[in-house]
């Protein structure tokens, strides 16, 4: 695929932006619109953009780990989030308040759960896109070989 300097430069910034916004959505999700699911979708769209622009290898490189690892790690994190208060019930949340002097930060197991959802959704959507894209490449190679 032809590389275009405009595309290259734009994507470099766009991907950073997408990553930041998706983190932002993840963190604010508990109090404002957002949350793990939509944040994960947004993060995955970065992979999609790379895949469409530069084929599956670029998307894989950006993702770094295999999409299945994201899926399994996401599930594991989500399950771990459920076991903090196991003597009461599975998935019963706990919350701790961390004083920062000027303000306080509340952190609870549901946030960890949301993080798991985020990672999993990122993995699932990336897997879809990467697999479909690379299957398409093979069929194109196929056609090329037939042409030769």
């Amino acid at each position: 695929m032809n590389s275009s300097p405009i595309l290259d430069t734009t994507l470099r910034w766009l991907i950073v932006l997408l990553a930041m916004v998706s983190f932002f959505l993840l963190l604010r999700g508990h109090n404002e619109p957002g949350g793990g699911f939509s944040a994960g979708l947004l993060a995955a769209s970065a992979i999609i953009i790379m895949t469409i622009a530069y084929r599956a290898d670029a998307g894989r490189k950006l993702l770094y780990f295999h999409p299945l690892s994201y899926i399994s790690v996401g599930l594991i994190v989500a399950v771990i989030a459920g076991i903090f208060n196991l003597d009461v019930a599975f998935m019963r949340s706990i919350w701790i308040t961390i004083p920062l002097g000027f303000s306080t930060v509340k952190f609870g197991s549901p946030l960890l759960f949301d993080l798991g959802v985020y990672i999993l959704v990122l993995g699932v959507v990336s897997l879809f896109v990467l697999e479909i894209e690379s299957a398409q490449n093979i069929s194109e190679d196929d056609e090329k070989k037939e042409e030769l």
Partner: protein, 757 residues
């Protein structure tokens, strides 16, 4: 506490077996044998307490909610069986160290044999019936692996599969019986089950128990699996298929005797089925030429007699059953081991070929002689005592049964002579040249096991006092004085006639063979059933799993619509609630957008416009969410819509172009679409007309901050209040992704293969 060691020791040994075998080689089996002798000691030490009627009980809770506790109860009958299992087991382990030698599979075979022994001990000592079922299934599984341990042999694989299928049917029946027993009595302990013959479920329980016992103990019509299982290495045949596992069915019936024996069908069913099995054995034995097949069929006969005795169920019959169980275990295991030694020495088991081994294998011959003595039932062997009791019981039940038993004893005599005489004194001596005596590790257990049949009969009084009488007593009937010599009675005359006729049949065996009507081969029947079953399964799969996504989706949608509409019409009042609500301009325009774009999607001539139509439909939904002040849903819907459009665009180049085809209305799909539309409309209206939803959302609104520590109620519901649902959903998502990966991966494989071609 010593009861626990009976299970812990074999388990540990089984787990370390493959590694230990690598270190110690063939000696490992001898070590195992020594450890199993320790188990024998433990069992003997438990006997005295059991005979008092207050046996040692081991109890700890496993899943108490399901009534599943590990409750072991070392009562006398259980210990009696356990003693047979471990004593013969110790012999088998020592024997297999010589038989299998340094064969690389020995480590795992020894491990599986230990696990098998463990599960057998579980069956005979379990008090909890669910634990009994679990152990029962474990014996089926370990027996499957042991029969198939020679897995490169197709016959071994086929035999293993048949055995597994038949015993698995029985296992399912036992599960049903156990559940019904537990529910009917509210009691999950064998020792506390009351007599059940009056209960409305008694017949069902009885049928299930019979199915389980008959499959495990290879009674007619399930008898064909046992000869097929003879493809296993001989020590395994000797252990599983003569001495222990096949007795599990008999054991189960004996345990159920106090519970079900008053049922009207108990005696007729058991006697009829076991008689049918005896008939099969009588007809099959003269045709057999393989040593192991001969022994296998005579084992079927012995099992049939045991079942028959339990069926008759008088105290005398049960006494006979207990004595014959022990006698048979001793002589049959020993004879199997003899057959294995001959096979090991000359690599042949055919009685038409064997002969002249007397000089080469003197100790094996002595073993065979002692065991054959007991099998024929000559005094002073234990087999003699048992045979007299069997005949007496048979005669007291019905003369025809006594006749059948006499003919069966003839068949036993024939088998015993064929196995004991032909290989050692037969005229054919070609094979004997290369023969060699088995090593001591094989000979000692053989000699010991076979001579138990004589030693125990000579020490009949202590045997009766310490073993048989308590065992019979724990079955709930009175024990009876058994003696080696009852004087010259009618039974003695009958049994003498039977034995002499048996000898005659042996000497004229060629004539007998010629005049015995053949049996239909059980394997053919089994194969036929198997083919029909598999064919049916294939046809059904072709209908249900036809591979067309369209038909799957159609089925799912239609079924759910019909279910929803059905519950609306028959459960709720079939009226559409009237909801008067003001429709705002924004809502109206969103609705029009959705309708227009869905029509555009349906009538699009190319894929890209169709996808665009689908997308704008989704945007209309997003608009609805925004108007209804649900920013969270709107955000997610928006992202999902964009992503699905992107995915569709990425995919659509794969799909065939359809712009050339004329637009035609497909009636079936139109009906499905309209059905879906109507159903969803109804569902929405009904959902809106209840105030239930209102109360729920009110509760969440109140508690999101207080309990969930978050202002975003939707998110708090997702990650806290209903987190378990979310966990389920993301698991499904992950599995769906795996499915996509596998599907496309296989597509890639097909394509790359095509390239290579």
């Amino acid at each position: 506490m010593s009861l626990a060691f009976l299970f812990i020791i074999p388990l540990i040994l089984a787990l370390i077996s493959p590694f230990a075998f690598r270190q110690l080689g063939a000696d490992w089996s001898k070590w195992v044998s020594a450890f199993v002798l320790v188990l024998v000691g433990i069992i003997i030490s438990l006997l005295e307490q059991a005979s008092t009627g207050y046996p040692q009980v081991l109890h700890f809770e496993w899943i108490p909610q399901l009534g599943l506790n590990v409750t072991l109860r070392a009562d006398s009958f259980g210990l009696y069986m356990a003693l047979i299992i471990t004593t013969i087991g110790a012999g088998i382990f020592s024997y297999s160290s010589g038989y299998l030698g340094n064969d690389p599979r020995t480590g795992s075979i020894t491990g599986w044999l230990l696990l098998f022994m463990l599960s057998m001990l579980g069956i005979v000592l379990a008090d909890n019936i669910v634990l009994l079922f679990v152990s029962w299934e474990l014996t089926s599984i370990s027996s499957y692996i042991l029969i198939g341990s020679n897995h490169q042999d197709p016959a071994a694989r086929a035999g293993a599969k048949t055995a597994l299928l038949v015993t698995a049917i029985g296992g399912l029946a036992l599960l049903g019986a156990v559940v019904l027993l537990g529910l009917a009595t509210g009691n999950w302990n064998l020792s506390e089950l009351p007599p059940l013959h009056d209960h409305p479920w008694a017949t069902a329980i009885f049928i299930l128990i019979c199915l389980a016992a008959f499959t495990k103990s290879a009674q007619w019509p399930f008898c064909f699996w046992l000869p097929g299982a003879m493809a296993a290495p001989t020590p395994i045949s000797a252990y599983l298929h003569s001495a222990t596992m096949v007795k599990a069915g008999v054991f189960l019936l004996a345990r159920m005797h106090p519970v079900l024996s008053e049922h009207a069908a108990w005696t007729p069913t058991l006697v009829a089925i076991s008689s049918a099995t005896m008939l099969v054995v009588i007809l099959a034995v003269p045709k057999m030429t393989d040593l192991k097949a001969l022994l296998a069929y005579s084992t079927l006969g012995a099992l049939a007699i045991l079942v028959c005795m339990i069926g008759i169920g008088t105290p005398y019959a049960l006494n006979a059953m207990v004595v014959f169980l022990l006698a048979h275990a001793c002589y049959k295991a020993a004879l199997f081991l003899v057959a294995g030694s001959i096979d090991h020495a000359v690599n042949n088991r055919d009685i038409n070929v064997l002969g002249g081994l007397a000089q080469k294998m003197p100790f094996t011959m002595v073993t065979a002689g002692i065991a054959g003595f007991s099998m024929i039932g000559l005094p002073p062997a234990l087999g003699f005592v048992a045979k007299e009791m069997l005949l007496e019981t048979g005669l007291s039940y019905a003369p025809w049964l006594a006749g059948l038993i006499i003919v069966l004893i003839m068949a036993f005599v024939l088998v015993a002579c064929c196995v004991v005489l032909i290989p050692f004194f037969g005229k054919n001596k070609q094979l004997a040249v290369k023969a060699h005596e088995s090593p001591w590790a094989m000979l000692i257990p053989m000699l010991l096991i076979s001579s138990f049949g004589i030693i125990l009969a000579l020490g009949l009084t202590p045997l009766e006092q310490y073993l048989i009488a308590p065992a019979v007593a724990s079955l709930g009937v009175d024990s009876i004085d058994i003696g080696l010599w009852h004087g010259f009675t009618a039974y003695l005359a009958l049994s003498t006639v039977a034995v002499l006729a048996g000898f005659l049949a042996y000497y004229q065996r060629h004539i007998v063979r010629k005049w015995t009507p053949g049996l239909p081969n059980g394997n053919h029947i089994h194969d036929l059933i198997w083919t029909v079953l598999i064919g049916f399964a294939r046809a059904l799969t072709r209908i249900i799993q036809n591979g067309s996504l369209t038909s799957y989706l159609g089925t799912i949608i239609v079924v759910s619509c019909v279910l929803i509409l059905h519950s609306w019409i028959y459960v709720d009042a079939p009226m559409i609630p009237s909801i008067v609500q003001k429709v705002s301009l924004a809502e109206l325009s969103a609705g029009i957008l959705i309708m227009v774009s869905s029509l555009a999607t349906a009538f699009a001539r190319k894929r890209l416009p169709a996808i665009a139509g689908l997308g704008s439909m989704g945007m209309g939904m997003t608009l609805f969410f925004i108007v209804s002040q649900a920013p969270d849903l709107a955000l997610t819907q928006f992202l999902v819509e964009i992503l699905s459009i992107v995915l569709l665009v990425v995919t659509f180049r794969h799909l065939p172009d359809f712009s050339a085809q004329p637009i035609k209305i497909q009636t079936g799909r139109l009906i499905i679409a309209m059905l879906t539309g109507v159903t969803m409309t109804v569902l929405t209206l009904v959902a809106l007309s209840t105030d239930y939803a209102e109360r729920v959302s009110h509760w969440y609104g109140l508690n999101a901050l207080k309990q969930g520590h978050g202002y975003n109620v939707v998110n708090v519901i997702l990650v806290d209040f209903r987190a378990l649902d979310t966990l389920g959903e993301i698991t499904v998502l992950g599995i769906a992704a795996l499915g996509v990966g596998v599907l496309i991966g296989s597509l890639k494989q097909i394509k790359t293969k095509k390239v290579r071609l």
